[in-house]
């Protein structure tokens, strides 16, 4: 059963009087307990989609222009702020890209951890909160938790801080964890540890994870399904195996072709997708990938492709996916 349905979500930003649609009719579902990857390059709208779910769009510039987000059938954008605060951090939690700046530098770890409890379970007594915080730090693999609780964020390494962020998100046993590029700012070994941790935690708690990244490798490792976004629109959505084995959208194909492989001859020139992403103020009216697509036809420049079911569970937004296949 889907616990989160995103239905034709459009988000607009007001930049100096001009209204720009940065997320355009994005739709996907999240099943309870699954890990869904959202992948795309910087500025494709994946973080904005996440912030819309949390109701954390920067105000007053950003707003939801159309569509709906339903959590267990309840429409989030139309919720009263108080009710949304009950869900935010409690049923749906989020961790961010920069563990260096995501924690308050002048408050002790313990206090920041306890805050989630104080907000959502105000009747817990201090002693119990303290024990639970210790348990959380232990759960996310932080050694000497008793001591860490009394420390400030600057006394912790980047990986430790991200673990603290994860602990904070886990505090109220959320149904959904949104992880917005949680490993991008960390070095590779720490990245692997954090991914491992997230996978273990999911197995233990059964929460669903929306994992936002630009790293296809991470998607392959962690997710069961993935949504590929390009310039504010969905390009493709599929379970991991078919997505990697038989991508339908030319953009996904380009992305996969760009990954260097171990079996390649040394010094092979890396494959790239020619051209650049159109800026948000110069988006074409047709397919947004048209200016970089090797298979572009007149129709692509005229009309934006709709998201259609290609194969079972596999959706793609391309006019020509059938012709270019194989």
């Amino acid at each position: 059963m889907s616990i989160l349905e995103i239905d034709e979500l459009s988000v607009a930003f007001d930049t100096e009087g001009e209204i720009v649609t940065v997320v355009d009719r994005v739709s996907f579902d999240l099943e309870a307990g699954e890990t869904l990857g959202v992948v795309g390059e910087s500025g494709c709208g994946k973080s904005v989609t996440a912030l819309s779910i949390m109701g954390l769009l920067p105000k007053p510039a950003g707003r939801i222009q159309g569509g709906d987000i339903r959590f267990k059938g309840e429409s989030l954008p139309s919720l009263a702020p108080e009710r949304m605060r009950d869900i935010r951090g409690n049923r749906i939690a989020m961790i961010f890209q920069e563990p260096m700046t995501a924690l308050n530098p002048v408050q002790r770890i313990g206090r920041q951890l306890a805050e989630t409890y104080l907000l959502h379970q105000p009747d817990l007594d201090a002693d119990l909160i303290h024990r639970r915080c210790l348990g959380l730090l232990d759960q996310v693999g932080i050694p000497a938790p008793e001591q860490r609780l009394t420390e400030y964020p600057h006394q912790l390494s980047g990986g430790m801080r991200q673990r603290v962020m994860i602990a904070m998100a886990l505090a109220s046993k959320p149904d959904i964890l949104i992880a917005d590029e949680p490993t991008t700012a960390l070095d590779v070994t720490i990245q692997a540890q954090i991914l491992e941790l997230l996978r273990d935690l999911q197995r233990e708690t059964g929460m669903a994870i929306i994992f936002i990244t630009h790293d296809l490798g991470v998607i392959a490792e962690l997710c069961s399904r993935a949504v590929v976004m390009y310039a504010g629109r969905m390009a493709e959505q599929a379970p991991i195996r078919p997505l990697f084995a038989g991508p339908l959208h030319p953009y996904t194909r380009g992305l996969l072709a760009s990954i260097p492989r171990l079996e390649d001859e040394p010094k092979t020139v890396l494959t790239t997708i020619p051209g650049v992403v159109p800026g948000i103020d110069e988006l074409p009216s047709g397919c947004r990938f048209a200016n970089r697509c090797p298979h572009v036809k007149d129709l692509c420049n005229r009309e934006a492709p709709e998201l259609v079911v290609g194969e079972p569970g596999h959706r793609v937004a391309c006019h020509r996916w059938r012709e270019i296949d194989a």
Partner: protein
């Protein structure tokens, strides 16, 4: 950290000596001085009594012997360094010498003015922080609204208009024309006869206009600093984290952003301690208040060097202590600050 502050306190000594030796030497180098002033006074007196009969000693009314005596009395017969250390020795036992103008001990002259200056200094400080912090916060939350724009215009106007112009305007409008407030003075002439409440009221009504003149210019800096600092912090990711935990925005401001945005303000706090004693001689002159600013200015004009040095001793000590106080304030609000110990983790 403790060792850092001990070192800072010890460093006061050489700095203090440096500052005072510089000014002390300057007082010897600039033209004019107590002796010249006395000579011209004596000449004026002489002119009045015997306008026509000039003295045999080339226009001077003092004999050479008298001059030597005077020089010895003021210590001008010795080299600068010697008399500096004589002066310093006296300062150490809290003897600042005697005013050459009033012949009163400098310490008494200064302590006479102290209550007035401290009264205005402390109120300026309270008003500045009491207004700037809430105003800056409100402006940050209401960024680019009508309220923000209007208050910005007002505080920048206050910043741009020199304080003595503000003082004169206030005096003309509210004291001279409307007669709402007295024309000047620290307290009214019948102060001693008033009841306790009457005294407080009298003090208050005399203080309103000077305080406005004092603070009008000081709002801009701290308010805008507070506003920008809070806006930076509101946009910071840890505030988003707090909201993502389910906190409402207001609580995130007070619980998270507020303390962080006080850090830049804390850096300036200690220095404001020395403002307590400086005072503006122009405002004091306009409102006829006998404070430190006026005393300092008059003693400079009159070449009353013992008083000049006495004020310097107090104000430089306050300034040096103020700097250390700033450091302590910063360390109090920001746990990342670790003075002295080489331990940094980033």
């Amino acid at each position: 950290m403790t060792s850092y502050f001990i070192r800072r306190f010890l460093l006061i000594v050489p700095t203090f000596i440096g500052v005072t030796i510089l000014v002390f030497t300057l007082t010897r180098l600039v033209p004019g001085g107590p002796i010249e002033r006395m000579m011209s006074e004596a000449r004026l007196a002489g002119d009045e009594t015997a306008a026509s009969s000039y003295d045999s000693q080339g226009g001077s009314t003092l004999s050479d012997a008298q001059l030597e005596d005077l020089k010895a009395y003021y210590g001008f017969d010795k080299p600068v360094v010697v008399s500096y250390f004589e002066w310093l020795g006296k300062v150490l036992v809290l003897d600042l010498g005697r005013s050459t103008r009033y012949s009163d001990p400098v310490w008494d002259t200064i302590t006479d003015r102290l209550p007035v200056s401290i009264f205005y200094g402390i109120w300026t400080l309270i008003l500045t922080y009491g207004v700037c912090i809430p105003l800056g916060m409100y402006k940050a939350i209401r960024h680019k609204t009508a309220f923000d724009n209007v208050t910005s215009a007002v505080i920048f106007a206050g910043y741009a208009i020199p304080s003595y112009v503000v003082a004169l305007l206030l005096l003309t409008i509210f004291a001279a024309n409307l007669e709402w407030f007295p024309l000047g003075g620290f307290v009214g002439p019948d102060f001693d006869e008033l009841s306790l409440i009457g005294k407080a009221g009298d003090l208050f009504i005399h203080a309103v206009l000077p305080l406005i003149a004092y603070t009008a210019g000081s709002f801009a800096f701290s308010t805008i600093l507070m506003k920008n600092s809070l806006m930076d912090n509101l946009a910071a990711e840890y505030v988003r984290t707090a909201v993502a935990k389910g906190m409402d925005f207001k609580r995130a401001i007070f619980g998270h952003a507020f303390r962080n945005s006080l850090i830049p303000l804390a850096t300036g706090f200690g220095n404001n301690i020395s403002l307590i004693l400086t005072g503006s001689f122009l405002i004091e002159k306009i409102f006829n208040i006998d404070g430190f600013g006026l005393l300092g200015f008059e003693s400079l004009v009159e070449r009353d060097y013992p008083v000049v040095m006495g004020i310097l001793v107090l104000s430089s000590l306050l300034f040096l202590i103020g700097n250390i106080l700033s450091d302590i304030c910063v360390a109090l609000v920001d746990p990342r600050v670790k003075f002295g110990s080489g331990e940094t983790s980033q």
